[in-house]
């Protein structure tokens, strides 16, 4: 078990790894995520942290946790598979975009240009992991009763829902038809947090320390050690997408 070999808390070590990575030129980094499925307890905290961090509206989810019940009674168990964007090295979603609105940035993260996206959703059909969702412009509070004046009503909650997240370091209120409404959205490894030296929200929130993040080009990083383990696997590896998200099984 990596944590037993590693005297430091994984989060502390990943922060140190990140400092070294951020000192390098962006193109020299190779951000990867490692998810230890044996440690995932299926709490969905990562999903919720991501929703809160990126203020995701209804129908938009970057990191659902897939649950499966396996075995036959009395030998029954559940397994969980968090599924962020795989940030493929060979992504099927980017070449299909008719307007270059999605591409791999110099750090190897597949990103969206919200001002460029026309909302055709071709990239969604191309992704074999269903890691992209469309922003239909909906809010959780729409259609709810406003309540009595002394209650916190729809207006307050609606205003909160429309305040800007800081995806890609940009300020974007969700108003009218303005982007990201009408755009395809996806996990971006919390690039806005990385830029500030913080780990992605799903990593810091994981109560089981099941999610690791770092620079695979740094041989001393924790993720470099983890992806060299024999029990590492990739999702739908046969498609040749070369995911940057690794699973320990």
């Amino acid at each position: 078990m990596p944590d037993m070999l590693e005297p430091k808390d994984a989060l502390v070590r990943m922060h140190e790894d990140m400092k070294r990575a951020l000192a390098k030129a962006p193109r020299e980094r190779r951000w990867v995520m490692v998810i230890d499925l044996r440690k995932c307890v299926g709490c969905h905290a990562c999903t919720i942290a991501c929703v809160a961090e990126n203020k995701l509206p209804p129908g938009v989810v970057y990191r659902p946790v897939l649950e499966e019940e396996i075995g036959t009674y009395p030998h029954v168990t559940r397994r969980f598979l968090p599924r962020p964007c795989m940030q493929c090295e060979n992504p099927p979603c980017t070449p299909v975009c008719p307007v270059h609105a999605t591409y791999t940035n110099e750090e190897g993260v597949v990103v969206m240009d919200y001002d460029q996206c026309i909302g055709c959703r071709y990239c969604i059909t191309a992704c074999p992991y269903a890691a992209r969702t469309f922003d239909f412009g909906e809010t959780y509070t729409a259609g709810l009763p406003g309540g009595f004046p002394f209650l916190v009503g729809q207006a307050v909650a609606d205003a909160f829902e429309r305040t800007s997240p800081f995806e890609y370091g940009e300020r974007r209120e969700r108003v009218g038809e303005q982007s990201p409404i009408g755009n395809v959205r996806k996990c971006h490894f919390c690039l806005h947090r990385l830029a500030e030296g913080m780990l992605p929200a799903c990593v810091t929130t994981c109560i089981g320390r099941a999610t690791y993040f770092g620079d695979a080009n740094d041989p001393d990083s924790l993720v470099s050690e983890l992806i060299a383990l024999p029990n590492v696997m990739l999702l739908k590896e046969e498609l040749g997408t070369k995911p940057r998200v690794y699973y320990l099984v």
């Binding site: 129908g59 659902p64 071709y122 909906e138």
Partner: protein, 377 residues
């Protein structure tokens, strides 16, 4: 005359329904649409494939008159171009409404990605539409000009390219085995030709002039072509589905089973196969019916309805099969479901566009004198 009036009346009522749908789409965005992030393309995409196919097929038929000078099709070239243009308009209108940002369509032209099949298709169809307009103008003003022949010569391979591109749009997607069929770009031009033939059969059969001595012969040739193309179409379908089932790739098998036995089984067995293929073939091969223009025209309508169902049966099933099985229960939201049925707003836009297209064909044919009436010298 009474029948024509009835068609006008029905189309106007349906068009009003369509106006409500378009208003709803423009005022409320995609909120009243039933497609989501898993079944990401819905009725409008399927109907775009259908109408674009009719447009390409009509152009192919127009070459019989305007390029190859086939005697019995004399005078039908302009009509075929007009039907194709109107059909292309109906398809493009629906696919435009399907976009998340309608105002950004210009980016495909000025900032397009040449690697993207979708961008190639948009450029191709734009060029194709302009070419059809130019050909129609020339065919009206200078029917014997060399320029018209050049346009038709250029347009014929272009019509094959654009209809093939629609197949490639789906075929290049390795993540969807049901679509990832190497023969899709080959099949689609055949489907386009068949739907173009059906459209012309419907227009000439139901609205053609009884004074036109070529009309019975034209309908006879179109009927034979429909029967032959139906056999080819059935062969493609058999080859496609049997290989998918024998191949036993789970995602592919699931999609085929969804078409054959899923929620919309009747769309395949009853609409696509029975009404759209078998009934027209039987009727068009029956001597007492095949010489009745109205019956032949209605068979054209049935074939078109069958093709519309066929396009839906290509687009939806591939999307209703989860990429990862457990996704169905991973996150609960109405946009994150693998179930799909078009909403009232989606139906309104599609039916309204279809009604507008029928009206445009009829009014245009009258104003531009597109229906051949008597033997041309």
């Amino acid at each position: 005359m009474t029948f024509k009036r009835l068609v006008y009346a029905v189309c106007i009522v349906v068009l009003l329904f369509g106006v409500w749908g378009v208003y709803n789409r423009l005022a409320h965005g995609h909120q009243d649409a039933n497609y989501g992030s898993y079944v990401v393309w819905g009725l409008w995409v399927a109907m775009y494939l259908f109408f674009a196919g009719v447009a390409a097929g009509c152009f192919m038929l127009a070459t019989l008159d305007l390029l190859f000078r086939v005697e019995i099709f004399k005078g039908t070239g302009r009509l075929a171009l007009w039907v194709g243009l109107v059909s292309l308009g109906a398809g493009l209108f629906q696919i435009w409404l399907d976009l998340g940002h309608l105002d950004r369509i210009w980016k495909v032209y000025l900032q397009g990605n040449p690697q993207s099949v979708m961008a190639q298709m948009v450029w191709g169809y734009t060029l194709f539409g302009l070419l059809m307009i130019a050909a129609l103008v020339l065919a009206t003003r200078q029917p014997d000009s060399k320029a018209l022949r050049v346009l038709m010569i250029v347009g014929l391979p272009l019509s094959l390219f654009v209809s093939g591109a629609v197949g490639a749009l789906l075929g290049v997607q390795a993540s969807r085995p049901f679509w990832h069929v190497g023969l899709f770009p080959v099949q689609f031009p055949v489907f386009s030709l068949a739907s173009g033939v059906a459209a012309m059969m419907a227009v000439i059969g139901l609205f053609g002039s009884e004074e036109d001595p070529n009309r019975p012969k034209q309908l006879w040739v179109l009927a034979i072509a429909t029967v032959v193309l139906a056999v080819v179409k059935l062969y493609f379908l058999w080859a496609d589905y049997s290989q998918s089932l024998y191949g036993n790739v789970p995602h592919n098998v699931a999609a085929v089973r969804e078409v054959l036995f899923g929620r919309w089984w009747w769309s395949f067995w009853i609409v696509q196969l029975l009404l759209g293929t078998i009934v027209p073939v039987v009727v068009l091969l029956t001597p007492k019916w095949r010489h009745n223009p109205a019956v032949v025209g209605w068979m054209g309508v049935l074939v078109l309805i069958g093709f519309a169902a066929a396009r839906s049966n290509i687009v939806f099933p591939a999307l209703t099969v989860p990429e990862l099985e457990a996704l169905t229960r991973a996150f609960s939201d109405r946009r994150l479901t693998f179930e799909y049925a078009p909403s009232l707003m989606e139906w309104a836009v599609t039916l309204g566009s279809t009604a507008a297209a029928v009206l445009a064909v009829l009014i245009g044919a009258k104003l531009l004198h597109l229906m051949p009436k008597k033997e041309m010298a």
